[in-house]
Symmetry: C2
Amino acid sequence: MAQTSASQKKTSPKKKKTAGKKKALPVSPLAPTEFPEMPEVSGLEIATASTGERYKGRKDLLVAHMPAGTTVAGAFTQSSTASGAVEWCRSNVLSGSPRARVLVVNAGNANAFTGRRGSEAIKAIADGVNDIHGYPKSQIFMSSTGVIGEPLKAAKIVAKLDAKPAKASQARWRDAAEAIRTTDTFAKGCARVAKIEDSEVRIGGIAKGSGMIAPDLATMLAFVFTDAKLPSSVLQALLAVGIRDSFNQITVDSDTSTSDTVLLFATGKCAPHAEITRAGDPRLKDFREKLQEVLEDLAKQIVRDGEGATKFITVRVSGASTARSAKAIALSIANSPLVKTAVAGEDANWGRIVMAVGKAGEPAERDKLQISFGPHLLAEKGQRVAGYDEALVSAYMKNPEIEICVDLGIGSQSAEIWTCDLTHGYISINADYRS
Amino acid sequence: MAQTSASQKKTSPKKKKTAGKKKALPVSPLAPTEFPEMPEVSGLEIATASTGERYKGRKDLLVAHMPAGTTVAGAFTQSSTASGAVEWCRSNVLSGSPRARVLVVNAGNANAFTGRRGSEAIKAIADGVNDIHGYPKSQIFMSSTGVIGEPLKAAKIVAKLDAKPAKASQARWRDAAEAIRTTDTFAKGCARVAKIEDSEVRIGGIAKGSGMIAPDLATMLAFVFTDAKLPSSVLQALLAVGIRDSFNQITVDSDTSTSDTVLLFATGKCAPHAEITRAGDPRLKDFREKLQEVLEDLAKQIVRDGEGATKFITVRVSGASTARSAKAIALSIANSPLVKTAVAGEDANWGRIVMAVGKAGEPAERDKLQISFGPHLLAEKGQRVAGYDEALVSAYMKNPEIEICVDLGIGSQSAEIWTCDLTHGYISINADYRS
């Protein structure tokens, strides 16, 4: 626990590094002050365990049980080298009427690019779940996160599949969020209570991810549970829209994982409400909004835990000719190492924004560009604004949250991307993560 | 001179940093041991001067004079926010039968995104050259490199346009290469002597660039002079092919400058040779090869001076379905922060190569991938090879030059990209370059 403590207290900067390769990472300065209050999603039962595999002395296995009839939707990495667990889940989600009884997540080994042995490990875990709990294989969901290319020792996971589940209490939620971490410096959770007609329904989500974050799909892992009673087709439609403005809107380092997964489960165990068959049903308005808040909050928490991050950056591009073009330019800015290092250095270097707009290969006219950092207009019509007060802008750059706004002045479309700065911390974490 | 000394000797690591913002950057550990011998390209005369503008106590202005009849070709940044000097040169190169009398290059201010005042500065410099030397404006070529968004003080440049030129001696070449540097830690030059029939022709080139480097166009600035007698149309064809396998094959940080420019000048003052009217003329074979060597060498020198670089990385992708796809995957690997930091950490983390192949969005099949680091095969058919000796590969990763080879196993097309690692040095240089 000491090595990767996710206690939300800031680690003292004076604290000595642990000897050897496994240094304690200090908690991100952008972390929320505490893990949120989480609701008891009816029907959900959580178990966690230590497999003793990669991480010693901490829980690294989540087994979340759900009642018969639980519906499910999923969104997965676009990577052409997707992991076996992603392929397993995708196949189950794509079945005619997907249902879920259990979610098994292990941290420390992604079981990606492990070939035939990787597939055998997945089969062994599914067999284990089926033997112990009797759930049909089509209702078993799995995620693995961690190092790529190392064969996963399924037996160590199977041995802990009987971990005793209990209702989704605050402590169990916290354990679940802790168990799925790898290089995360804090546990990520978010919850809302929504109304569907007079029925109160609970939505609780957890996520992990800090490096290898980029759209599509940006996530890493996120699992959202609700006790609303909704068919899988409705969940899938809600999730497709939901990730567009949350997980597909973040980038830490433009790298995309082989394991990115978002799953949304609905146990249907809330107080009865009307049967809903369409995602657009007006009675779902509050649920849609609250679900979106959960997805957005979890996505932002991943950026807040961006490896080495010291600044949360919102990039807004407006006045673009198309929405796709706006997003491409926003990503070009958000992924530019020169922009990210300038923000790290608290330098209002808007010349690098101009560069990043230019390199995006999208329609833009130099002499129509307008650039602001927060409330401060720096440049318009192709040049620096008259009376630009560098001292004011420099003071703004010291904030932990920075907004970079670019108006292209050639259309009406816009996009927003959330990212973080690029610091020595990123290099330190990634130059000796595996070896 | 002391602040950005380009002496090719390694700076002692114990040397104290200069106080304040302008620290001396240590010379790249990948720098050539010395500036090369350069030939006296007939007809070329070089002048350099100090404008006293941004860099104090060093030369920051190059004025290269060429005889009447000098032909010219150019290649420029694809950025939609290109600088005024790029637009000026592009317009001159695109004129029916381009000729050049002079090249004026200033370092320290890119005169980019400076709007009307930027255009006025370019006009003022052109007027100054015309007044002092009488060259027609269509034969004046200009480049500016340095900070973006600051208005360029043309008068300081105009005041030095009369700097006394002299034949392209070794000392003058060296001065020229020094004068065009910004964050470069060493002066970059390369030369070859080629034969066109019995006539010996000289090719000499200089370049600058270390950050904001990415294809297309990858350069920064490169200027190549020859005394061969070749029409501009032949030069343009040679340059178009030449940059494809040199400057468009490098990336330091995926960022593209607003000022990237390659110019190729031919004075025609060598001993007479046959009239050549086609780039494919067999009599140009030796010239083509030597020109390519110069372009490739200058491009690699830019990577060797990549900001913070400690490793030169060659990424080779083979077995791709198309050449474009091979290049996209090679760039995805070369630009991945996770791959670049792994190399910096001397970590044979091939899982990150799998990730980078996967995220490229190009045809690839996990179970056909083959990955090698140098002579060491690490993975094939979707998994780690049996008997993989991590100690051997770890020893290989300590080399200053690393080869990453990926065979996709689905086609016959290939691509090669040159890049460098991502280190603390990059962050240090870019988090406080401007402020």
